[in-house]
């Protein structure tokens, strides 16, 4: 069927104002937040902007009828190409479904549409002294639907957990076009926790059209600590000791020297430029407890030999202490026009060793690499700086990235802590998973989407979704156990 027929059908469901199909309007959907080159930009056939679950279901049925794939999209801030329609098809943009439908104060939950912007939800419930705990650095722009699909995390996830720990249930439109509600409390109570499977499924299992999310009480007291150290080893040791002392801060972040320099040059955040590492600690909870823990952290940092120590309970000062960290990405922008943000995770005890490796590989490649990372949970964010106009720059970045990934995996790490696999890290999956592991994941995908119709080409390396592989295992087993077929 022609594109025209597809568009006409879509207009019947979403109205003319809810369908985009002309060149300029489609072009703006060919990319997300990922680096052009790491993810190939692709033009979708059509983009729809539905306003209800029923419209989403209607669109899914039409796409099915026309045999074109469907890709869900939130704010398009994803860093792994998740929202790019790499096989073309229809993009369902959920940005118009952006209402907070219900807030239950006693249960501390909110029922929201997927297009609600993460920070808007926290602002919405702020006067009830609640907030939505997952806080990706993109929280000003990224949507709850996108956070769910990528299982997003952020600095405060050390204490509060990542997105999956805050999703109690979801309404989804399935690849069949059916609408279902998944309740995570069913785990153990006679059902399967299908919500757990939806979180982190990168839009490949179902399109989230509503979510029941947990809200967290705003802590009574917050203390922010900045401790600078003369070596990365010292900073890492401080992290280890803080954790060993039996307290769980809300966040533990480290910046290395290059990041500090960049931040200071751009914003004068007051970080000591002669320090090798700056550690930011946030402690929250009962005021007396926060005071005690802060004192413990101070004693511990001084014993290790902090070269500068600052602490504050004042929100304005706290913002100033955080500023350097928050603006670090921006500051990099001033050092080089482009950056590639890596997302590997290693066991916490391997942090220093990994950073040495990062440093070594960075030097060898000749590309500057800055490090700003979630030290508390081992989530590294090496930032590779480059200028895409230089010939071969993107290729060199991707090469270095590959080496970094391999190094992290060798140290017991994994590919991604929060940004997802998408099409960008898809081909790295065999580094950490065996063929069996991946086949089992493909099986899970198939139980939601047997025809590979939602967001095809993501997460699973090529070939895994084709029928033959599935049968291979069956045949092997059949041979082994002496029967013809299952």
């Amino acid at each position: 069927m022609s594109n025209r027929a597809l568009i006409d059908d879509l207009v019947r469901v979403c109205g003319p104002g809810g369908v985009r199909h002309r060149l300029a309007d489609l072009m703006v959907f060919e990319a997300d937040g990922s680096v052009d080159g790491a993810v190939k930009t692709t033009l979708p056939q059509a983009v729809v902007l539905p306003t209800s679950t029923e419209q989403v279901a209607g669109v899914v049925k039409i796409a099915r009828k026309h045999g074109v794939p469907v890709v869900a999209r939130g704010a398009g801030t994803g860093l792994s190409g998740g929202a790019v329609a790499i096989n073309s098809g229809v993009i369902i943009s959920l940005t118009r479904m952006n209402h907070v439908l219900e807030v239950n104060l006693l249960e501390r939950t909110a029922l929201v549409e997927p297009g609600v912007v993460n920070l808007d939800l926290s602002t919405h419930v702020k006067h009830q002294h609640l907030f939505f705990a997952p806080d990706p650095s993109s929280q000003k722009a990224s949507t709850i639907g996108g956070n769910i699909a990528e299982n997003a995390g952020g600095p405060h996830c050390l204490k509060y957990g990542v997105t999956t720990n805050h999703i109690l249930g979801v309404e989804v439109v399935l690849p069949s076009g059916d609408i279902a509600w998944f309740d995570s409390n069913q785990a153990g109570y006679g059902g399967l926790d299908l919500t757990a499977a939806i979180v982190g499924s990168e839009g490949m299992f179902g399109i989230v059209t509503k979510a029941l999310v947990k809200l967290t009480p705003i802590p009574q007291s917050i203390s922010v600590i900045l401790a600078a150290f003369a070596s990365m080893d010292d900073a890492a040791m401080a992290v280890t000791e803080i954790i060993a002392s039996g307290t769980m801060p809300a966040s533990l972040e480290i910046m290395d020297q290059l990041s500090i320099e960049a931040v200071e040059a751009a914003y004068h955040a007051g970080y000591p430029t002669d320090a090798a590492a700056v550690l930011l600690v946030e402690v929250d909870g009962h005021p007396l407890e926060v005071a005690e823990i802060s004192a413990d952290v101070e004693a511990l940092c001084r014993r290790i030999g902090t070269v500068q120590y600052r602490q504050s309970y004042d929100p304005v000062e706290q913002a100033a202490l955080w500023m350097g960290r928050k603006m670090s990405l921006a500051a990099m922008g001033r050092l080089a026009p482009n950056y590639y943000l890596q997302d590997a995770v290693v066991p916490r005890s391997k942090l220093v060793q990994t950073l040495d490796e990062v440093d070594r590989l960075g030097r060898a490649s000749g590309l500057p690499v800055a490090n700003v990372f979630h030290a508390g949970d081992g989530n590294l964010h090496p930032l590779i700086l480059f200028d895409r106009r230089e010939k071969g720059a993107v290729e060199r970045v991707l090469e270095l990235n590959h080496d970094l990934v391999v190094a992290c995996v060798e140290l017991g790490g994994t590919l991604s802590g929060e940004h997802g696999i998408g099409s960008e890290k898809r081909d790295h999956m065999p580094l950490i998973y065996t063929e069996s592991d991946l086949r089992a994941m493909a099986g899970l995908k198939r139980s939601f989407d047997p025809d590979d119709f939602f967001n095809p080409g993501k997460v699973l390396p090529a070939g895994l979704m084709c029928g033959e592989l599935k049968d291979l295992h069956m045949q092997r087993m059949a041979q082994k156990h002496g029967i013809v077929a299952f």
């Binding site: 060149l23 703006v28 801030t77 940005t95 722009a141 921006a330 922008g333 895409r388 106009r389």
Partner: protein, 448 residues
């Protein structure tokens, strides 16, 4: 074969060319992260990537790369749907300078695209004529005053002639005009103890529609130690031209203002219209390629201060009259985003005895005024105006405070449309009242 080439030639996207092309360096600074999306009023209203800063920049790059035609109607649409409110610029972590890029894109469109005759006519009559000379604007305003008083206005509103002429919005925006405008070169305000000189930028809309605000500015400045005057020879700031891609017209006005304020001698150039202020602060960029004026423009720009900025440089001389009221603040785009002035008005309001400031949601989201936007795109402007009115009304404040004439007019109409009685005041008028208004002492007015 030649014919085939011709067909291909015709189908090739029209690229940027000629003077005022969007600067490639600035364009490539966008890393497509999307952090600017939620601060953009048109994206907030539509939820459509095409109506977002990132989408618009992507389109500009597509034109620059020859993938999209400059004359693609959807490109044209987006370049003009943008309010040029600069909210995206203020939040962009990579420091993308969106303003100059959209203005250059518009300049390209103005150069290369044939406009339907009626649009040209409309733009010339509504836009160019009244603004390019303050005197003419004032004549216009006087005419308007007559028109408002004569009852003709009601007649026209009813017959719908205005709507036909797309002037209806202009009409709705205008407040009743009471005072006569300032006299440049004549009006001065002398403080008791002089701190420094200040030269008021008169502004077209401000001087014609809100002359009382300009007078209040003189009085408040004098209360705070500034010997204040209104230099002769100044004219329109030119924003209306640079925003719509008519950069050469803007340059003519810029040179004129630079000369006028050079003649006025030392001291700050004080602006109480945020839109004008941000335009004046960009003269250095506008004239950077003009060998005769580039340096003078830099010196000029360095002297320009918004009235909020100037007054908040040190604590106010304590106001004498309490104002027992709750007010809410609407932040003009060209103040908060283009000039990054946000803390100052709040600090000033806090120094007024009795006054309570209640913050509204989205106080820095564009109200839909944006120069002549509410005339050219009434639908989007109304949607944004309604949104703003709802947010202002939700605070329960007794008045809305802002500091830009365009915003004042847009807010007023929007509030009325939404059934609110909340008056809209310029921050200077509030301060003036806190010093006792027209009848206050402590400074002297001096008509030369």
């Amino acid at each position: 074969m030649a014919t085939i080439n011709l067909v291909e030639e015709l189908q090739k996207p029209v690229p940027f060319s000629g003077p005022d092309m969007p600067d490639d360096e600035l364009l490539r600074a966008c890393v497509h992260c999307g952090m600017c999306l939620p601060s953009c009023p048109t994206y907030r209203e539509t939820g459509d990537e095409a109506s977002s800063p990132r989408g618009r920049l992507w389109m500009m790059s597509a034109v620059a790369d020859g993938k999209l035609s400059l004359l693609d109607p959807d490109f044209d649409e987006q370049m003009y749907q943008c309010l040029n409110c600069r909210a995206c610029e203020a939040v962009c972590p990579s420091g993308v300078q969106y303003g100059p890029l959209v203005e250059a894109s518009r300049a390209q469109l103005e150069q290369h695209r044939p406009r339907p005759w009626w649009q040209q006519l409309l733009r010339q009559s509504v836009m160019s004529w009244p603004f390019d000379d303050v005197r003419r604007m004032r004549t216009g305003a006087r005419g308007l005053r007559l028109y408002q008083q004569s009852g003709l206005s009601r007649l026209l509103q009813r017959t719908g002639v205005l709507k036909l002429m797309r002037l209806e919005n202009l009409e709705r925006m205008l407040p009743p005009i009471e005072e006569s405008p300032l006299a440049p070169g004549k009006d001065t305000w002398v403080p008791k103890a002089k701190l420094a000189n200040a030269h008021v930028f008169n502004g077209c809309v401000m001087s014609s529609v809100f002359p009382d605000v300009n007078r209040a500015t003189g009085r408040v400045l004098a209360h705070n130690g500034y010997a204040t005057d209104v230099p002769v020879g100044q004219g329109c700031c030119g924003a209306i031209y640079s925003h719509t891609g008519m950069l050469d017209d803007a340059r003519v006005l810029a040179r004129k203002n630079i000369e006028a304020f050079e003649r006025a001698g030392d001291g700050a150039i004080v602006v109480n219209a945020a839109g004008c202020g941000s335009a004046l602060k960009e003269y250095d960029h506008l004239l950077k390629d003009d060998p005769r004026y580039a340096d003078r423009a830099k010196a000029f720009t360095a002297r320009v201060l918004d009235v909020n900025e100037l007054l908040d440089q040190q604590p106010l001389i304590p106001p004498t009259h309490a104002i027992n009221a709750r007010v809410t603040l609407q932040e003009p785009c060209h103040l908060v985003h283009a000039q990054r002035i946000s803390a100052q008005p709040r600090s000033l309001l806090r120094q007024v005895p009795g006054l309570e400031l209640v913050e509204m949601q989205e106080s820095s989201l564009c109200c839909g005024s944006a120069g002549i936007y509410n005339i050219t795109r009434p639908k989007m402007a109304d949607a944004l105006g309604d949104r703003k009115a709802r947010n202002a009304m939700a605070t329960g404040a007794e008045a809305v405070v802002t500091s830009n004439p365009g915003c004042q007019m847009q807010l007023r109409t929007s509030l009325i449309r939404n059934g609110s009685e909340q008056p809209v005041e310029h921050i200077v008028s509030i301060l003036d009242e806190a010093y006792g208004g027209r009848t206050a002492t402590g400074w002297a007015i001096d008509h030369q």
